[in-house]
Symmetry: C2
Subunit: 323 residues, 2 copies
């Protein structure tokens, strides 16, 4: 099939582009290259089934034009910077909520009715039930990022009801692996490369989070789109384990062969709106036959090896976030 | 206290303005008069504690200026037209989601940190649990209206977490009473005034809905703001009963002394995205000591008597919606 990937030059987007091309799909990559990297599309650009469109998701006309003839949109473009939301509150509204509206509106105009969307486990706020299932009690938002993704989910579901769209909405934990360019592994690797003896840690190190390896994430997306046939299909995507930040520090230190002295900023949260415990119940996607191939530890190590071999990403990404 | 009411010239807004003035508050009414009526503010305008500002919620600067010196904002301005959402999909995004962002952003700029917000029972979509409590299973949106209000709730909650705001979010059933200017009672009264022998009904007449009388609604808002002290306070507002559309037709016909032949458009829903059964569990607000004074039947009759005495509202409202 022919499909369009918004944010197709990003970490998850470019990995998806490569996998779509590998299975023989025609792919239009739509990216504004604000955080996306042309380097990630090196291989894709050699494929005759690949088209690159430089464009912004706030430009609804360009989006519509780029989608011509597509059967499906994978909408991954977003402001993924969870940590600094309160410093630029309008960014999440524009790049996540309004942008998602534009994608839907462009799809309507171009006659495309299938959409896969990268939402986030952050929509659960500080979940009342852990591990958190898709039908957890109605959550209260704690971050502008989560709120903007929830708004995107709502728009997509309403378009499904109102215009007969079909959607696959994925609530991700943090994704790790090759092309990973922001988050705590990125931050810790960078700190320890400069000063192996010291590590500054946000919070008290006991925050519990879950992670998923990028290729496992894409396997799950493919499984869901192939097998889930409801109008609105919502899936948590994560591993059946979580780790503490301290565990992650141990994995990273071992792999890098360092023993840093830790200094904690303190408190149970890394930043305002941080959720101290993210762990999703992924039994719904597992019932479709999917399971992750890598543990969190293995995913952390793959990420470190990628970063070590690709230190150029630190130059390319000047304002890393921590998630 | 001094407070600002967005949508203060509307049905609920102007009723709230009068009640705030009656208890001695200073009130700034902010309305663009797109659907608001200057007539509703006749009494308020004679009060020295009242200020009227004509402005749009899409104008963030004007909002901020109007809020100077206020302690609290009652954000009621909205596109309340649920039924025609799919005909102008951008309207809910702009007037409900982006407008709510603007209100919050203006509050931040003006140093106001308390907000009461008119959300809707529509955020529950087609609820899995009925009567539906505030912590019902995470819903899937079925209307652009519901999605836009859910987005507003998310933004407000995120501002509470990120900037130490305090919020009271009210998920209303349909409100009835004096100054009611859109919805099914309005539509049925108008039809039966013109042709007492005929009534066109959307759906099959078995849709079950709950309603609340305007003054009961305002009592509930005052009770919650006075007694609920969490950072984010979410309350369903409705009566502990529901009626079928057919019941409502009976109440209206009896009051008007007519016996119309009914013609149904058919189907269990009145329109795309209509929810065939809305009934909220209001035990949370009841635990604060509030209870409604009027039954749904009494509220319908008060509404009819108001419409009969104020037929000018039919001229003023050219595009009534049905809810």
């Amino acid at each position: 099939m022919k499909c369009l990937v918004t944010g197709g030059a990003g970490f998850i987007g470019s990995s998806l582009v490569d996998r779509l091309l590998a299975r023989g799909d025609q792919v239009v990559c739509y990216d504004n290259f604000e955080t996306g990297q042309i380097e990630f599309l090196k291989e894709a650009q050699e494929n005759h089934n690949f088209t690159l469109v430089k464009g912004d998701t706030l430009d609804a006309d360009a989006l519509k034009e780029a989608m011509a003839g597509c059967e499906m949109v994978f909408h991954l473009a977003a402001n993924a910077d969870v940590r600094f939301g309160t410093q630029h509150p309008r960014r999440d509204l524009e790049q996540n909520t309004i942008a998602t509206y534009n994608v839907l509106s462009a799809m309507k105009g171009a006659g495309v009715s299938k959409i896969a969307f990268s939402s986030t486990g952050s929509v659960y706020g500080e979940a009342a039930v852990i591990p958190t299932p898709e039908d957890a009690p109605f959550p209260v938002q704690t971050s502008l990022y989560g709120a903007s993704k929830l708004a995107g989910e709502g728009l997509i579901s309403a378009f499904c009801e109102g215009y007969d769209f079909q959607a696959w909405i994925f609530r991700f934990v943090s994704i790790l692996g090759e092309r990973y360019t922001h988050g705590h592994v990125f931050d810790f690797y960078q700190q320890l490369s400069k000063e192996p003896g010291k590590l500054k840690v946000l919070g008290d190190g006991t925050q519990r989070k879950s992670y998923l390896y990028i290729q496992d994430c894409i396997d799950a997306i493919f499984t869901a789109v192939e097998k889930a046939k409801d109008k609105v299909n919502i899936f948590n995507l994560g591993t059946d384990e979580y780790i503490e930040v301290k565990d992650s520090i141990r994995f990273i230190s071992e792999e890098m062969g360092v023993s840093p002295t830790l200094s904690f900023s303190g408190g149970s949260r890394g930043w305002i709106g941080d959720n101290p415990f993210i762990f999703l119940d992924c039994s719904k996607i597992r019932r479709l036959g999917w399971k992750p191939m890598l543990t969190i530890r293995e995913a952390v190590i793959r990420t470190l090896r990628y970063l070590k071999a690709n230190e150029w990403v630190f130059e390319a990404r000047r304002a890393p976030a921590w998630s």
